[in-house]
Symmetry: D3
């Protein structure tokens, strides 16, 4: 990944690197490798801002996310940092007052991570090495999950005395096919392997190591970036909408969505290119 | 399948053949084999009408659907035909006016294909050969999916510059166990094989070729046709209801549904036959 | 399991045995082995009461459920007993009147079985031997499903002329990853094996025989009982809430739930123990 | 109303007259005055077809509905006709079989009446004289309700031994502001007057007699027909969508709807006309 | 009301009197007049049991609820009693532990009051004198609300430092027509009068004094008790279902509900009585 | 209002003034009186930020909103400003591209106005003079609406060729008691008076002029600011939650919410003050 082009518009982030390995493809790296990419509040606020920016950036059509360094995607929350901010631990506030602080704190945290799901471009998450706690919350917000064979997964929150609250419990059961398995890993906080993640459908590819996984992700992102952005972004939107609605509601929403989308040039361009066997070039979206 | 009995009540359809390989079993064939069974508007309107008729036909208790000929279940939308009707492509209407036309057009199309899901009898879909685009929308409306080993599946719409809008994006994620896989195939429009379809749970049987798959489907349909229609049709209804409701709502709906259903003769007849080890014969429903 | 300690608070049940193989672990056995643990109304009412009691019992942190004896988890409804109560069969009441009786009867039955799902402690269900009909309804209410290799599963209700109405049709499709498979087994009422149950994700472990399966379940329950009850019970609650809500609603509910939960001592205790590498002892909940 | 222009496209209906009192305004009259406009199955099927046709007719922008003759909007279901078709009364079918017939019968009836709600053009319902039973189901599907001072309203179904099933119980509580009043009139089946209907908000205007009420409705419809059809039809759609969705969902749906709608010419035309104080003429929709 | 017949089946309640002023009519009186009918836990548990019993009692077709004595319907929670049980006030439990106790406590309380809403027979609530706090929660569970002119209403909970949690905030906005008014009275905890309650639609009748209000309620209940129980109870069920569902879902549920209900004798009996102008006598339900 | 104390923390806004007429009460004024307080994008973005700030400001417990000057609350969107930004009018972008821009534009606008609804403190909106278009969208986000007798209301959007998209169509039908009236004013865009707004429940008080209305609003806000913030803010949250959920869901959410809230000091403080007849002083929240 050494020859990637750094994206000038994304140089203000302290804990995140955004490069562009291929045209229209962005690679987001969580960049605190010495701390196993553990998340401070500063980091998760940046994480939210990056994905909001990517969502509106017409030069980006597909995104790859990974951790920086070889050891971890992320080890989750930076517990020392969390201890010192006083919100979750140690304050002497009135219980009702503290409940309000905690609610607002969790909401801000959820919103920051959830910005990846709301990003209108498809996001491919590459898990590798230590990928526990918040790593799962983040991965659940991606569209496609790929991992290295050495990935150590765990829904770790029960072991720090709390129910996971940044999204894993809301999203994971809707991503994989066995609730018995979901409850097992969420209640026991046990590790699970890349192979197990593949067999339950949490990830859809396992690669030899991080480098191979990132390469595969970039290749996949490049494929997506070559396609009609109207079609790709509409497909993401409609799939996400469908998760939280009945089929009848999704069908209606689809009618209204496509009523504008198919009037764009991408549709006739792609259709004609298909008939003429030429490769279409799509306008920015 | 040469000795099937043609069903007299279904002879008016131009593009669809309905035969009856066994008592109470109907076999619906999409019949434009020279065009890889591609769908014109005429065909999809017939498709909707056939399933509405089957739903109300008390001589039918289970339905098998396949494509006619060896090459394709269906190659999807007949693009040439679609181009010429002017709704999706080429009209000069005002944008808001065209948006209305497109919405109504998609709704009619969705309703026609969705008639298979609404059909009160169980439907077994046999996929084989080319099964792309609309083929997946259709298969998602069936109850049980079986395929031939040569099936070439693809959610193809992204490659014609649009998000799939006849139901795949609404239904597919609720049918299989890996959202990562769903997004992969929907966003990339790549082909996937019978084996892959089986491993993610999209189909539940793979057979050597189309003939074997149709035979297995007819055998399965015949099994269903031997059982209590009250029980079978109630089971289909309650499973479909459950997909779009909370567990609490489904349980309540089930109470109300069975309050009438178990008062029918099928229940006592089946119960007694079970105790007496005899084979029950159920009345038409 | 011979050396388990019987739980004194649970000795009033006629058809159910509750023992405690390990501290904070309860083992519930359905105890009509001569009748293949078939359910009479008396039994299901007791089943509901047991789980309501366990839910409020601060000396219990995890529950294992199995059938007594080697032959069956349960063969389902005790048909002879059901025939004699006149609600479902044989009464001469007015149709609307009987509809009301049937609705209320099903509701009471659903509520009794559903008490296992509502129980605030995690429940591990061990299926073994004959596990048909109501066995599936019950298993669907558990958090984690484990089985013996000899388990004979079937969603049997269609064969007695009715749609399953105690919860299988509402819950099963949300527990496993292939709707095509769900509809197959629910419509055909065919047997399926431990291996098949594992491959579709219905169970997450298969063991050689009942004894090994129960041992594994007790070990797993013991692991859960060692962890923070606030974390474990919160995780169960949030996962169950998530099944029936959109992601956005689950995230909000999670904020409100954890606003109180993380103010408990378990959170800081577990956090500190993690940092200090000591083993925490949690207060009763 | 004698000088209205009959609409040629609507002459095939036997029990319904459609005229056009003003450009782009349609007046639908239920036309069985000798039978107090009571509904046979033939009539309600025509009713459904008329509104489907009006929905797609670009020469119609607003609709007024009334009964023909002076005595009744409608006295509801034609009981004699209903008795003779054997679906609701008198058949000897198996209970489960008859339950299916009844369900399908009610669904067809609901769909026919509901076509008025689904009609994309605003519908003003003029109630007058006898307006009981089905009259309320119909009125609930309109957008705006106006009545004559002599109107005799009643939710009459309880007095024929059944819960109203064509929509009153689903819609009425969402149309008016007092559930205590709704339950009073629905449970007692008592008459209520025009003045009472006005005071609870069921109707929004009361006029001296039928003629004045129809004139007011036509004037209101004419006002609507002068406005942008894109704006008027969008407003109807979004208000109806809002009734059945959360505010958050409605807001999102509104974004997607208007994304196409405001690109139409009506928006810039109306905006410019407003600034220039001219009267815009909108294209057909 | 002195000549009412006490109902023998309801004599075991300590704080509640159930009499029968007319055949098939039950009158429930909250009976702690010296304490302004304030609620202890014992009382609310009895309240829940009474309505569960009434729901299943085929000799009861309509219910009237009032307070005993002239001074109050109820002054709400018995604060002294509540203080002494230690659940809400004064316990030293861990915050997470106490949160669980509070949740379970509120749930039990909600379920007891909500039993009135779940009661399958229509309930008419007569408010009079002091009717504050819990009085509003209770009234919101009734079907029809009537009051005496001296009633003093208030949603009082804000003045004891808490948000009302037994149902007022969930139900009141769905019962009346002005959210601005609802928020005013809920946020300020101010008193409002019988006249104000009438004008916003919270009650549908105001009578001179308690005696007149009870008489009117009994007369109304008697009217309901004369009608088909299948029709009356079905109407209550469908109206309550409609409150919490979309119109489309209610229509479907209605189809399934009436599929059994109209097969009962009440329907043909009422229909024939209507044609023959005779008074029908309905069987018990 | 001349003696109000300006709030130092809110001096950075260009188009909005925030003062504090009483302790814990904030008065927000939309401040473009020469332009009838019409909204530019700059203004609505400020509007969203103000309410986000107020929501987190523990020195504010209740908020009053009005327009500056005597002529208008607001005349709605500043059409000239909107024309010049090119998003809604005049751009030459591809239809699909422009659809995305419009969606994102509406979303930003909705979010800014909706910040008032999300503000955790109660908001009292004072309408006066010209109050059309966006004025209604804003008012619908307030908790309590009060107006001056000279207010000129109109849901004006249809007259500029579009369906209102900032929230009126989603919220208004849920605030008032007559859908017939809602559709009348939304479809015709006609003016309605203070008296009409009062009679349908849109506002709950009408005062002689703006000054009197603002005084009444400040008095009401002061009353709310004297009460327990835990109780008041919890009541707002639970009422808003209830609007978009079933009763069963609201009851559950209430349990979880109050599990923390009643452990705060406000509850015991208010309870004790009530018993001792003293006036409680609550801590900041």
């Amino acid at each position: 990944m050494s020859s990637t082009t750094a994206l000038p518009a994304y140089t203000s982030y302290k804990n995140i690197i955004v490069s562009s390995p291929n045209p229209f493809v962005a690679h987001v790296e969580i960049n605190r490798p010495k701390k196993l990419n553990a998340f401070t509040q500063e980091l998760w606020l940046e994480f939210g801002r990056v994905f909001k920016q990517l969502s509106g950036d017409e030069d980006v059509r597909a995104v790859v996310v990974s951790g920086a360094g070889d050891r971890a995607f992320t080890a989750g929350l930076d517990v020392q940092s969390a201890s010192s901010d006083g919100i979750l631990i140690g304050s002497q506030a009135d219980i009702a007052k503290k409940a309000k602080l905690v609610r607002n704190h969790i909401e801000e945290f959820q919103d920051s991570i959830g910005a990846m799901e709301k990003c209108e471009k498809p996001v491919i998450c590459v898990l590798h090495g230590v990928s526990i706690g918040l790593a799962i919350d983040i991965a659940c917000c991606a569209d496609i999950r790929i991992c290295a064979s050495n990935t150590r997964f765990a829904v770790k929150e029960v072991d720090i005395g709390m129910a996971a609250d940044i999204g894993t419990l809301a999203r994971l059961p809707k991503l994989v096919g066995s609730t018995s398995w979901v409850k097992d890993v969420c209640l026991t906080a046990r590790d699970f392997s890349a192979q197990e993640a593949l067999s339950v459908g949490f990830v859809s590819q396992v690669h030899e190591d991080k480098q191979a996984a990132v390469q595969a992700a970039v290749a996949l992102a490049t494929t997506l970036a070559d396609k009609s952005p109207v079609a790709v972004q509409g497909t993401k939107e409609l799939l996400n909408h469908g998760r939280d609605h009945t089929v009848a509601e999704s069908l209606r929403y689809t009618q209204v969505w496509n009523a504008a989308a198919v009037q764009g040039k991408d549709f006739s361009l792609a259709l004609m290119s298909g008939l003429k066997k030429t490769k279409p070039r799509f306008e920015k979206l």
